[in-house]
């Protein structure tokens, strides 16, 4: 008898919470700003959702990163940087004289969820723009939604190129701003025999396809190409293959936890950075913290920004980030790219005088910003940004020492049109 009364109570509570949750999107606003206005649950006929309601006192923007799941460890930091930029802009008076209001959504490291939440932000919340994504898979999942609803996405991570959507601005590096110059530098300074190692998904596969074409054209040699599943942690076979192939360089496009396993086992096998050059494109300050500096010291990475980048803007940025989120936090390339994305969008909106997507896109061309990494400029044609390329070496304190930097920011070339050897790669 008693048990049944209990379970009835539980059921009532449960059903209520489910109903509340189900209606949550309608009645509750999830911004972290306290003064949210209720969202009218507007039915948009057809494709009427332009995502640009700039009437009212605030401008709504969305942040869509994985806050749970395997990618959360990387993406939460980017979300933090984007929030910081928004708070800074709000403190300085906002955009077009209006405060920016944030709607945060969790992509949950699941690509269909990214698509669902992107649709929610554009149709339900009618945000002016969205900052979000990390993996190429999440971007590819969101892309059709943004194109269908004519939304605007700012994507902050280096990626494999061969893409240019009118509805996406790419603030991370494309291949000619990271991988191609890194290979050039390695050929000049470290040797010609390359061992390509990557996680088995689209970024490493595409990157290695480009590297192979480049090596062939410039007298290098690919001695082996190895892929391991995402999350793979046993690298003894790969390491013995490396020992056998005796490459000059291991070009590492592993992602996430696999890096921890690979570098630890490489060290255990008695191979240090002095014996073998490795260059990674997905290992930044944040990952070094996780892997351990003792294991990574002396290894190389190619990025467009390091926490040690010496500009007055970066000094301020690092100090503000640590003040906001804790002394032990570090900044890294994607974190910075997320931060500047907010500023670039705000500048484009100011220039356009509206948050209308088409007008913002038009206004964005040529916008310059003194970013922590140095001056960046939006290239209107590709919707990527000009960036300096840096080759860095991991130091004992977990920071990078810049070994090489391009003089000027490099023009983005996502389809590698400027490289003769790449002519066969980008055919659509």
């Amino acid at each position: 008898m008693k048990k049944n009364v209990w379970s009835s109570v539980v059921m009532v509570v449960l059903v209520f919470s489910l109903i509340l949750a189900g209606c949550g999107g309608n009645s509750a606003n999830n911004g972290n700003t306290g003064n949210t206005t209720p969202t009218p649950d507007a039915t948009n006929e057809g494709t009427g959702a332009e995502g640009s309601t700039d009437d009212g006192d605030t401008i709504k923007v969305g942040i869509l990163h994985s806050l749970s799941g395997t990618m959360a460890i990387s993406e939460v930091s980017v979300k933090d940087a984007e929030l910081m930029a928004i708070n800074e802009i709000n403190a300085a008076g906002g955009v077009l004289g209006k405060q920016i209001e944030v709607v945060i959504e969790d992509g949950a490291s699941d690509w269909p969820t990214f698509a669902e939440k992107a649709r929610k932000l554009l149709q339900q919340d009618q945000v002016a723009t969205v900052f979000g994504g990390w993996t190429s898979a999440s971007r590819k999942a969101m892309l059709p939604v943004f194109e269908e609803l004519n939304g605007l996405l700012w994507y902050p991570v280096q990626y494999e190129g061969l893409e240019s959507s009118p509805n996406i601005f790419y603030t991370g590096a494309t291949t000619n701003q990271q991988i191609v110059p890194a290979v050039e530098w390695l050929l000049e300074n470290r040797g010609k025999k390359f061992f390509l190692l990557g996680s088995d998904y689209v970024f490493p596969r595409t990157a290695n396809k480009i590297i192979k074409a480049q090596l062939e054209a410039s007298g290098g040699e690919t001695v082996a190409e190895e892929y391991t599943p995402l999350g793979h942690t046993d690298y003894s076979t790969v390491i013995s293959k490396i020992k056998e192939a005796k490459p000059d360089v291991v070009f590492n496009t592993l992602n996430g936890d696999s890096n921890v396993a690979f570098f630890k086992q490489l060290k255990d096998a008695g191979i240090s950075a002095d014996d073998l050059t490795t260059l990674s494109v997905s290992v930044a300050e944040e990952e070094i913290r996780g892997i351990g500096t003792d294991v990574l010291e002396g290894h190389l990475a190619a990025w467009n920004y390091y926490q040690t980048t010496d500009t007055p803007e970066n000094e301020k940025f690092v100090a503000a980030y640590k003040a906001a989120y804790g002394e032990d936090r570090v900044t890294a390339d994607p974190i910075e790219a997320g931060y500047i994305a907010v500023y670039l969008w705000a500048a484009a909106v100011e220039k356009a005088g509206t948050t209308d997507v088409d007008k913002v896109r038009e206004a964005a061309d040529g916008i310059e910003f003194n970013a922590p990494e140095g001056k960046v400029t939006i290239d209107g044609e590709t919707q990527h940004i000009y960036k300096k390329v840096l080759i860095g070496e991991v130091q004992a304190d977990g920071m990078f020492k810049t070994l090489h930097s391009t003089e000027e920011p490099v023009k983005p070339d996502p389809y590698l049109k400027g490289y003769e050897w790449a002519s066969g790669l980008a055919e659509q």
Partner: protein, 369 residues
Amino acid sequence: MELTAKASLQKKILLTSVYSIVVLFLLLAPTFLSDFRLSLLAKFLAFAIVAIGLDLIWGYSGILSLGHGVFFGLGAYCMGMFLKLEATGGKLPDFMSWSGLSEIPWFWKPFAHAWFALPAGILIPAALAFILGFFTFRNRIRGVYFTILTQALVIIVTTLFIGQQQYTGGTNGITGYQTIFGFSLSNQSTKTVLYLVTVVLLVAVFILCQRLVRSRSGRVLRAVRDAENRARFIGYNPSSYQLFVFCVSAGIAGLAGMLFVLHVGIISPTTMGIVPSIEIVLWVALGGRGTLIGAVIGAVLVNAAKSGLSETYPDSWLFFLGALFVIVVVFMPRGLVGLFNDIVGKLKPRMQTIMQAKGSKMKKAGSNG
């Protein structure tokens, strides 16, 4: 005797009218839900279909499959391939050219035709279920061992799909669809039609499964579930019944997968992985195993909670969801429908005594409770 017959008739009428109201509500949903909520509901209903499929095998034949994500995913990929080829107009899909293919592989080609792709979305999962079921049920592999096998199937298939990037799109999956039969997928009226198709298919699958479990085969299935050896001694061959229902269940999952792709616009290996496969079981458990309607309720409620909670508490929604699951499993082992039946069972005699005391006037209302 006459009284119970009358009561069961009344119960039947009541149930039918409740079901009709729910279906009517679903059919009218496009008129009062926003576009975004409608697309969410459409997705939930697709999930409800796969949940019915799982309930059919788990609830009525006692075989727990943790591999329904695979059948769901295979159906989804069939639809995805069809839509992708329609989007590219028969040319090479974008991810294939990145991965170094210069020609559409032979097994992709038939998927350009709806008459092949759409039936394939049901038949391929069913065929895979047949192969797996044929070797396991006949060899009397059951219980935990069968469940482990289905998990292994999930791992094999997802690894295969991730590894064969040039054919499957790898981790990214297949996305970027434009049209179906020439109608733009981004058009709201197309979406409404697809939603209504989903509602109709859900009702059809539900009725089909209800017929099935009430038929003689359904009774044999339950007999096998409760006492396999006894059923065998009576002269039934349990494995053929189990195999049949496993194939039907997988085909239903494939159908749900096809609808999922239409509403969500992407299919990737994560959607067919271990976690989604277990989630399907959770929906059925939460709604009430072995009731069919419980599977529908569970799938819709859990997914609504998932979407709603993650929108309201993007940082901590998983804790709430986890707590819900724990509460349900601990306090309601027979799910929401089981609990509902308990309460009705408790109230009914009480109501009847009250009714008798109050006289004939209220009699009708009392028996409805």
